[in-house]
């Protein structure tokens, strides 16, 4: 049941997979009668991702440029799979962080600003413009091994790099571009599965 999240070092509480009851049994239990034939056939519609491109609007231009550079470094295209840039991971994270709690937003903004500051100080240019070796020089002091993801580093830049090392790969793997690439190559895509819809939600007007 944790398929959508990054695998934790300590497995989270396992959950039993409930087997859907057979239709007859369900009817006996008072099913809600939303079976086939209850209305017109569903029409095929297109997802917004395949029809349009997202508009980045949370990070400043220098911050977003640093995020794009960082995304390409952390999750490059490899082993026949597209990387973070091909999968639109920075654009998705611009949206996700933009709707996240303030502390998460601050972690990202401060982290990206710090990358630019360090790059300018060491190489006289923004992080988006440094080469791979220069980028590594900037990033290396912030990289730490973490024994348990629920106890991330406390130092802000280390915490930022820990966060992006989790988020960028996940935003890449969970993108439609990554799924399409995997399907084309005949590979199984991890993630997703049975998703609960709102269950008998309360109508609040």
């Amino acid at each position: 049941m944790q398929a959508l999240a990054a695998a934790p070092a300590v497995p989270l509480i396992a959950q039993q997979a409930a087997t859907p009851p057979a239709p007859a049994a369900q009817a006996e239990r008072g099913g809600r009668g939303r079976g086939p034939g209850a209305g017109p056939e569903m029409l095929e519609v297109t997802s917004s991702d395949s029809a349009a491109v997202p508009v980045a609007q949370f990070f400043t231009a220098p911050q977003f440029a640093a995020l794009r550079r960082l995304s390409g470094l952390i999750q490059p295209a490899m082993n026949g799979s597209p990387g973070a840039l091909e999968c639109g991971a920075p654009e998705f994270l611009d949206f996700l962080i933009g709707v996240s709690p303030a502390d998460r937003q601050q972690l990202y903004r401060n982290g990206l600003d710090a990358l630019n500051t360090h790059a300018k100080k060491q190489f006289g240019k923004s992080f988006a413009d440094v080469d791979d070796a220069q980028a590594h020089t900037v990033l290396k002091p912030m990289l730490v091994a973490v024994p348990w993801p629920k106890d991330p580093p406390r130092e802000p830049l280390q915490a930022f790099l820990f966060a992006v090392r989790e988020d960028i790969p996940m935003a890449t793997r969970n993108s439609p571009e990554f799924a399409a690439s995997a399907a084309n190559a005949g590979r199984r895509v991890r993630g997703g599965g049975l998703v609960w819809k709102p269950i008998d939600p309360v109508y609040r007007g």
């Binding site: 989270l12 509480i13 959950q15 997979a17 409930a18 969970n174 609960w196």
Partner: protein
């Protein structure tokens, strides 16, 4: 309008409520069950989606279910909405209250680890010198455990160890292949050298992968024709007869319409889960002449992560002969009075062979990180623990009158803090795992003695503890309120100590025992 009076009102539909309904109705007693949430329709309430089809691509909506570490974007709807039914705590004292209000409650989603408590827990006060024991022993619960294990089809390996009581196991054996990989054999030998007993997991097989109230208990109760179930019924307050002081029913509110309702019953059985039952009693102003109600909240620490890599299994050489399998080590600390540790009580260890290192284990990124992950893939052995948190009076809940849920019912305030005992126990566990991994000549990948905040294990118990002394406990040994004989609480609230074990089998056995006794007493006219 006809006014119906039930023999028994049961609040809550999880394992404890389901068991009470099953036992009471089979004894011919009419029951009404009120459940705060709706009934899930497994066929229509779930849909197959890929991660990229979800609005937040599997990250879950930011800020939603902040206390439910188990939540993800696929299962978010199954948990109680924390904004709809809030609770409060000091930010410096985090508490994860993980709730499900669907019919069947958390029995729909539990991990199915199935253990009995032992007399090391029931009589812990004797061992530890505190004198605080359960008023019942393993012998009292044994026949009920056996019946529960038959209903839930518990699998396990009999060991004959007093701290790990054997059960009435299905077929007496294990359906899974035994752990024969070389890494598992190595670990077992090294653990045994240190007097650490090694067994395998015990779990409820259930039926079709489900071991819940809705498929193993409630169908039997409904088949008697003696049970009515009302869903979306949020109980606000237990009502009492002013003359006798006995309870006589409950006020509840319809989840959808907000309509206030009242139901009459001769007996009220609370089975809403430890904290909801206690919240209801506190909001009703009942069963607290001892002043103990709400106190002694405790659960289990879950965490500690120690990971090592078997050198010869790296670089794609993690064969089935070398890697794979799981081990379970029941409590092995503080089983004798003369043991000297810097903590009381104990913990169990879970070990898995054949795991992989994780990206956060390495200070790397990009291709270099991928090479490290490939190098270690399948070569790791990892261990974690469940450990007992001591029940402390100061760890308690109260009503927060300033915060109300969506139906105007005052919320719970949780005030719980870990002590040195928990940290010392976790340190001992991490060091023990490291010692064995190192002795096996495996390379350490990661080690932490950190653990999740209180509540995470979803094993919270103890806020209406049972006991023989009405001045020091809320319930008697039959789960009846000391103050009000026709009021029972049959969920985890009654626990005196939680042990290191998943509490579900004990909750079921206690509920069965209490319900059987209640039925007998009702027939005799004593209740």
């Amino acid at each position: 309008m006809a006014i119906k009076e039930y023999d028994v009102l049961i609040v809550g539909s999880g394992h404890s409520g389901g068991m009470a309904a099953r036992m009471l109705t089979q004894k011919g007693i009419s029951c009404l069950m009120l459940n705060a949430g709706p009934e899930a329709d497994y066929a229509n309430d779930r849909t197959a989606e890929a991660s990229y089809q979800l609005p937040y691509r599997g990250f879950n909506k930011p800020g939603r279910l902040a206390h439910v570490f188990q939540a993800n974007e696929a299962n978010a709807e199954q948990w109680v909405d924390e904004k709809e039914v809030p609770y409060t705590h000091d930010p410096a004292k985090p508490y994860n209250w993980v709730r499900v209000r669907l019919l069947g409650g958390r029995s729909l989603f539990w991990a199915r680890q199935s253990f009995r408590l032992s007399d090391f827990e029931f009589k812990a006060g004797d061992l530890e010198g505190t004198g605080v024991n359960w008023p019942i022993s393993l012998a009292d619960l044994d026949p009920y455990y056996s019946q529960v294990e038959a209903i839930f089809r518990v699998r396990g390996r009999k060991e004959g160890w007093p701290q790990f009581p054997d059960g009435n196991f299905v077929d007496g054996g294990m359906p899974r292949p035994t752990n024969e990989s070389q890494s598992i054999k190595t670990f077992t030998a090294l653990a045994n050298q240190r007097n650490i007993p090694v067994s395998v997991m015990r779990f409820s097989e259930g039926v079709n992968g489900l071991a819940s109230s809705i498929n193993l208990l409630l169908p039997d109760a409904l088949a008697t024709g003696k049970l009515d179930i009302v869903s979306n019924a949020i109980v606000r307050e237990i009502s009492t007869d002013k003359k006798s002081g006995l309870v006589n029913g409950a006020h509840f509110v319809d989840r959808h319409s907000g309509r206030e309702m009242h139901v009459k019953a001769k007996v009220v059985v609370l089975a809403a889960g430890t904290l909801e039952s206690t919240r209801l009693l506190l909001n009703s102003g009942l069963a607290n002449s001892s002043g103990v109600l709400g106190h002694y909240l405790h659960d289990q620490i879950y965490g500690v992560s120690v990971v090592a890599s078997v050198p010869e299994a790296r670089d794609g050489k993690a064969t089935r002969e070398l890697m794979g399998g799981n081990l379970f080590m029941p409590r092995f600390r503080n089983l004798k009075k003369d043991e000297k540790h810097d903590f009381i009580k104990g913990y169990c260890m879970l070990v898995e062979s054949g795991a992989s290192a994780q990206p956060f284990h390495f200070p790397l990124y990009g291709q270099e990180l991928q090479q490290a992950l490939d190098h270690y893939a399948g070569s790791c052995v990892q261990g974690s623990i469940f450990g007992e948190r001591p029940a402390r009076f100061e760890n308690h809940v109260t009503i927060d009158k300033d915060v109300k849920d969506a139906w105007g019912i005052p919320a719970l305030h949780v005030d719980v803090k870990d002590g040195d005992n928990e940290h010392n126990m976790a340190r001992d566990a991490a060091n023990t795992l490291e010692e064995i991994f190192t002795a096996a000549k495996w390379d350490m990948v990661a080690k932490t003695d950190k653990f999740f905040p209180p509540g995470y294990s979803i094993h919270e118990v103890g806020t209406a503890r049972m006991g023989d002394d009405p001045k020091k406990s809320v319930l008697n040994k039959w789960n009846q309120s000391h103050d009000i004989k026709n009021l029972l609480v049959v969920d985890g609230s009654c626990f005196v100590t939680c042990g290191w074990q998943n509490p579900t089998m004990t909750i079921l056995a206690v509920s069965m025992r209490a319900s059987e006794h209640l039925a007998d007493e009702m027939k005799k006219g004593n209740v």
